[in-house]
């Protein structure tokens, strides 16, 4: 998948393998450019990198050292992965091969972001009901996802028919299933 504005921004940038734009806070792929012949799954990468960026942001906020200008850099043996917020609604990830110096990669990214930011629509993120987000989170991360709603129903007593329509859950039920989801995943709270 590639849209013209991303392909244009990526044109001529050496050792660039991918550009992914992730919609926040749901960490869903908004748009992507992958170099020709790539076998990467853009949806999957965008989701995980979005999660990573969000966790990083929350961690820095907890340390009182967060800034919107923050750039996240990951150095893997083969790649530099750079993550930066484009706006409140989008995070952009650029994946470079290590042939490019890290400083140059950051420079290229900065230039690309200026072009990408101009092309991104004014995107109003739909505030999905919290119950829907809890169920999505479970579906993504819980073991045995085929049975996870049954497990939640058994633990909470909330009927399956209600869990299958999470957008209609009462606040009380949402609080219960959120607590149960955290317990199933061994977490203190859900960061959604």
């Amino acid at each position: 998948m590639s849209t013209d504005y991303l392909a244009d921004a990526a044109k001529g940038v050496p050792s660039l393998h991918a550009v992914l734009v992730t919609a926040m806070p749901d960490c869903l792929l908004f748009d992507s450019w992958l170099e020709e012949g790539s076998s990467w799954q853009a949806e999957e990468i965008a989701t995980y990198l979005g999660d990573l960026f969000r966790a990083n942001r929350e961690g820095l906020k907890a340390l009182s050292s967060w800034s919107a200008d923050m750039l996240v850099t990951i150095e893997s043996p083969e790649h530099y992965i750079l993550l930066k917020e484009v706006s409140n609604d989008f995070v952009c990830a650029c994946v470079f091969g290590r042939k490019t110096a890290l400083g140059m990669a950051r420079l290229y990214m900065q230039r690309m972001l200026e072009r990408i930011a101009e092309s991104l629509p004014v995107f109003k993120v739909e505030e999905r009901p919290r119950g829907v987000r809890v169920v999505d989170f479970l579906d993504r991360y819980a073991p045995d996802p085929h049975a996870v709603l049954l497990r939640v129903s058994l633990r909470t007593g909330v009927p399956m028919a209600a869990l299958e329509k999470p957008e209609s859950l009462s606040d009380e039920h949402v609080a219960e299933i959120e607590k149960t989801a955290a317990s199933i995943l061994g977490l203190e709270t859900l960061n959604i």
Partner: protein, 420 residues
């Protein structure tokens, strides 16, 4: 282990196996973990551990008593040694029992539940409660038998668990137990509640394959960890009463206290039937051992159902037989004996509704494996394939038409293609 082998017994025509008088079956870690998880979900971690360790205690006590009697073990040290050696033979890992007359401690390594949980789920979920209720019940029962204490007088708690990322599993055995050893479901109970073996379609083939598989699994030995690894799973020779008591006690509690989720817990215990058939029957079908015994599995639904039925018999699940099989449409599976109904009848009396959840859902999973898996492609039986087969692609309805828990002559389930 010589003493354990000397206790091996069977009702061969009924495809049931016993250690002394205790019924045992082969189940894999996927099934075991899912089963225990359902108890945890239903009751909460603390109460679930109590229910599970009590069931383990009650199931183990009679086996351990048979074992020390058959070995003519007189001293506590001899008896504890026998108990410690028996657990690895069953594929449950190693448990050092450091107990005296009034209790003490135990230390486990590679215990089946904690170890396999960590291997299956540990990279995805942080566990915060111990997993080895079976070993806890075993430790309490072994100490009682070793010191001739009143049955049920001790209890055992697990303080540290490998599943919770601790180095080893540690237990404390102490007074205050509440296991009830008055009612026991043993070989004689089974003989009272099962029916004469039925003859199904392809009976000669089913019987022949089952006999070969029984010989094969009887010879399986555990490794140096006390685990049995084969067919891509960790296998246990497990006490059937443990499964029955934990499942039925839990379901009854839900029926009393949270009746609106009764169907949910029945579905989850049924789901463990899917899990078992996929991982254990599927793993056996895809194994080199199966190829040597029967030949490679073919993309022929009838042949797969015949094979799965034979595997069920070979693993001690009872005398399952195919009453009717119409490929692509319908399976009627019967069981003149299984490990669920005799326990239920003895412990709880006649049920008003069918309650052989494992048997019924296993039949549905037979049809799913028979029709939706490309066996000639030698599929990888992993979680991804499981999700694709059992999450939303389950095209079969099932009805438990007869059930021995209800007083019927046989257990019978009818699986039919779900109408679009």
């Amino acid at each position: 282990m010589k003493q354990m082998r000397s206790l091996l017994a069977a009702l061969p025509d009924d495809d049931l196996t016993f250690l002394g008088s205790s019924p045992y079956v082969y189940h894999c870690h996927h099934f075991n973990l899912f089963h225990d998880q359902t108890v945890d979900d239903a009751l909460g971690n603390e109460q679930a551990f109590a229910v599970k360790s009590r069931a383990a205690h009650e199931a183990s006590w009679h086996l351990l008593a048979d074992l020390v009697k058959s070995a003519d073990a007189v001293t506590p040290a001899e008896r504890l040694e026998i108990a410690a050696a028996a657990l690895p033979w069953m594929g449950h890992g190693r448990l050092a029992l450091l107990t005296e007359k009034h209790g003490g401690t135990a230390r486990g390594e590679y215990l089946h539940y904690g170890f396999s949980w960590q291997e299956k789920y540990g990279s995805r979920v942080r566990r915060r409660h111990p997993a080895d209720a079976f070993a806890a019940g075993w430790a309490a029962a072994a100490t009682e038998v070793a010191y001739d204490l009143p049955p049920g007088s001790l209890r055992c708690r697990e303080h540290a668990c490998f599943a919770c990322r601790e180095a080893a599993c540690t237990f404390e055995v102490e007074g205050g137990g509440d296991a009830n050893l008055d009612t026991y479901v043993g070989k004689e109970t089974f003989e009272r509640f099962i029916s004469p073996a039925t003859v199904g379609q392809n009976e000669d083939t089913v019987r022949k394959i089952a006999a070969g598989l029984k010989d094969f699994v009887a010879g399986i030995e555990s490794d140096e960890r006390g685990l049995v690894q084969g067919f891509g799973v960790y296998v246990t020779r497990h006490l059937a009463n443990y499964y029955d008591q934990t499942a039925y006690d839990t379901i009854h509690m839900i029926e009393r206290e949270k009746p609106r989720v009764t169907e949910v817990i029945e579905e989850l215990f049924g789901e463990s039937g899917h899990v078992c058939v996929f991982y254990t029957c599927g793993g056996i079908l895809a194994s080199p051992e199966w190829e040597a015994l029967v030949g490679p599995p073919e993309n022929d639904p009838e042949s797969i159902v015949v094979s799965c039925t034979a595997i069920a018999r070979g693993l001690g699940f009872g005398h399952w037989s195919i009453a009717e099989m119409v490929p692509g449409e319908r399976l009627v599976l019967q069981a003149s004996s299984n490990y669920e109904a005799p326990f239920y009848r003895e412990r709880y009396g006649k049920s008003e509704k069918p309650r052989c959840y494992f048997f019924a859902n296993a039949a549905r999973a037979f049809m799913q494996l028979a029709h939706k898996v490309d066996w000639q492609e030698r599929p990888q039986l992993d979680d991804a394939l499981y999700q694709s087969l059992f999450k939303s692609n389950l095209g079969w309805d099932l009805e438990m038409t007869r059930c021995q828990t209800r007083g019927d002559e046989v257990n019978e389930v009818v699986v039919t293609r779900r109408k679009a």
